[in-house]
Amino acid sequence: MTTTLVLVIAMAVLFSCGVYLLLERSLTRMLLGFLLLGNALNLLLLIMSGAAGKPPVGKTAEGIADPLPQAFALTAIVITFAVSAFLLALIHRSWKLSRADEVEVDEADAAIGRDRDDPADDDPEIDTDPEAAQREEASR
């Protein structure tokens, strides 16, 4: 299978930029990263269809361009389109709610981190019953 080096390099660049942007906290950058990633994937599918320059239709199956990867790419484009529309709606919603475009820290996760620094806070289920503590102390 022969293919153009330019296309491969373009795909690699798109991929790396896409992944980099996806790792950002800002939702808009994530969206851009996702779009780049989608294009990189479409290019990859196209590269897999073999050398360029073959006719799209012909009398026999020999020698014509492979239509299947093109169909894949088309489907992938549609899906990317739908998901980006949804992401845009999500970004809009996030902006309306918090006037911020960033993914926030998960509260429950952060709480675990906070607890580490606070040895005074012990098991809740025991704390909640002062009587049991008294009973235990009396038994000592």
Partner: protein, 563 residues
């Protein structure tokens, strides 16, 4: 009877379109959704019987013969999972209708819920039947896009945040999967699973390894196996209870199904089996340790979900007929039980007002039936003997013992520890939410009772979480239990801070009848798995046998016959 197969995708999709058109007629919309899923259950059940009697059913969509057309393949594994998931989808739908009918519930599904739910159903059912990788990708996207909408339902701040984590992770998984499909096509010139299976052996070793690993990572993120599972407990618990239930039951299992297909038919060799076993052990242990440290019921259940995915991966990683059979049985068991537990937690949230074990209490008196409904699936998940969880785990351990390699024995050990810790985590919830008397829970937090009047509207509770193993035992009234051996009296002097008060379960919040009825059916269903365990295990074994000889699958698809 091949015309039955496409119905499973077509009917939900058409139903979704009709339901979307009926946004203003909620009653009609509801009826249509229930009818559609009832049809799906009937069709899937019929297929399950037919496939067992007559062998794999293959439908070439549009009459284009494989490998050119799209094939829908229903073999025993597919048929079994189709039936179970269609039933679970129907059950959870009824639960959500029960929530809908109740007044003043912020979690009540909005009108968009039903059409989206049907698209999700179509995606899940299509994924179980896909005969080529690209169709599998499309099915994944269908269910994922629907799940994006469902997880951010209502668009509250919490859900948008949790949804973002989920969506971005899923997008990356899909991207890896699509890239893998592109590479598979480049290497083999086909995306038809049967044809890939034929051609893959001719590829150089390193190309095989690359394709195999990429597909495994893509599916692994969906299935939430250990290093790729951290998105799950962050995102699932914030969604409405029925949504979490169906996600927990089905979405991760779609990933597991894809891994089973990958390991048995696409790459049947033992190339990555050791990796899978290591991943299985880590998934089990890390998942359950996460569960032990949680105080929110929904988060805790999400962690047990991850940990039990490890059991299924373990069965797959053994790479034998008995191992795969046990994994298939365990998958069925886990779909039902995990969904049931999430439904129960939904009812607990409704009655108790929160899912935090810090604030719940006294539910045993307030709702004795609910207590029983929680206890049965909890025992089931933990693997107490009469239940299907025990049968599944026993099957897995026997398969591992038969394998006999050191890694398999490590997996058995990890499995036993995981079962015990699962039981421990679930019983901690039982102690806190049901057994502990109500006043004790309230007495501890009188000073904050007015601070956050709407605290119960948020979930999960942003409460500080620490539970050490020694002091994790909950309060035991009247000293009726003597398990506690840790000297925790000293720590009891400091009252907990940051507690959120729960809504008092009293007479003015009566048991939501429909919710309880549906949950009861789910619990009975999970118990019924024990009753039919013999035939079911037999079915799983036959499914595994046909999976472990990929030639049969290839012949069924490419030969174009029904045998």
């Amino acid at each position: 009877m091949t015309w039955l197969v496409p119905l499973l995708v077509l009917v939900p999709l058409l139903g979704a379109a009709v339901a979307l058109g009926l946004l203003r007629h909620r009653k009609l919309q509801r009826t249509i959704t229930v009818a559609v899923l009832a049809i799906a259950v009937a069709v899937a059940g019929t297929l399950m019987v037919l496939v067992d009697q007559h062998g794999t059913i293959v439908v070439q969509v549009g009459g284009w013969q494989a490998p050119y057309g799209i094939s829908l393949v229903v073999d025993r594994l597919s048929a079994l999972l189709l039936t179970v998931s269609a039933s679970v989808l129907l059950l959870v739908l009824l639960f959500s209708i029960g929530q809908d009918l109740a007044p003043n519930d912020e979690d009540a599904p909005v009108t968009i819920f039903y059409p989206t739910y049907l698209v999700l159903a179509a995606g899940v059912l299509d994924a179980f039947m896909a005969g080529d990788l690209f169709n599998l990708y499309v099915a994944f996207e269908m269910l994922l896009v629907a799940s994006y909408v469902l997880i951010t339902l209502g668009g509250s701040e919490q859900r948008v945040r949790a949804g973002t984590t989920y969506i971005v992770t899923s997008l990356i998984a899909s991207a890896i999967f699509l890239a893998a499909i592109g590479l598979v096509y480049g290497a083999t010139g086909t995306v038809n699973i049967a044809q890939i299976s034929e051609r893959v052996a001719g590829l150089p070793e390193h190309v095989q390894l690359l394709l195999h690993t990429m597909l495994l990572i893509g599916f692994g993120i969906k299935a939430a196996v250990f290093p790729l599972a951290f998105w799950l407990p962050d995102s699932y618990p914030t969604a409405p209870a029925p949504v979490t239930a169906v996600f927990a039951g089905l979405l991760t299992k779609v990933g597991i199904y894809a891994i089973i297909r990958l390991e048995t038919i696409i790459f049947p060799g033992p190339q990555l089996n050791d990796v899978l076993l290591v991943v299985a052990v880590l998934t089990m242990v890390v998942g359950v340790l996460g569960a032990v440290s949680q105080t929110d019921v929904k988060r805790l259940l999400s962690f047990t979900l991850i940990s039990h995915i490890g059991f299924m991966v373990m069965g797959i990683g053994l790479g034998s007929v008995v191992g795969t059979a046990a994994a298939v049985f365990y998958t069925v068991h886990h779909i039902v039980v995990q969904t049931t537990l999430f439904l129960v937690s939904g009812v607990m949230e409704r009655i108790g007002g929160t899912t935090s074990t810090r604030s719940l209490g006294g539910l045993l008196k307030a709702a004795p039936l609910l207590a029983a409904l929680y206890l049965v699936p909890a025992f089931n998940l933990g693997g107490i003997p009469p239940f299907s969880g025990f049968i599944g785990k026993l099957g897995l351990f026997r398969a591992a013992a038969e394998d006999g390699s050191p890694m398999a024995w490590v997996a058995i050990g990890a499995g036993v520890v995981t079962s015990l810790l699962t039981l421990y985590a679930l019983m901690r919830v039982w102690d806190a939410a049901f057994w502990r008397p109500r006043p004790a829970a309230e007495a501890a937090a009188p000073h904050v009772s007015t601070a956050e009047p709407h605290a119960h509207l948020r979930s999960p509770e942003p409460a500080p979480l620490t539970v050490s193993e020694e002091t994790g035992e909950a309060y035991h009234p009247g000293g009726s239990t003597t398990v506690t051996d840790a000297p925790h009296a000293s720590s009891a002097s400091s009252p907990a801070t940051g507690q959120t008060p729960a809504v008092e379960p009293s007479a003015h919040t009566p048991l939501p009848r429909m919710l309880v009825a549906v949950t009861t059916v789910a619990v009975l269903g999970s118990v019924a798995l024990t009753v039919v365990a013999g035939p079911l295990y037999g079915y799983a074994t036959r499914a595994a046998e046909s999976l472990e000889s990929p030639d049969r699958y290839v012949q069924a698809v490419l030969g174009g016959t029904d045998e």
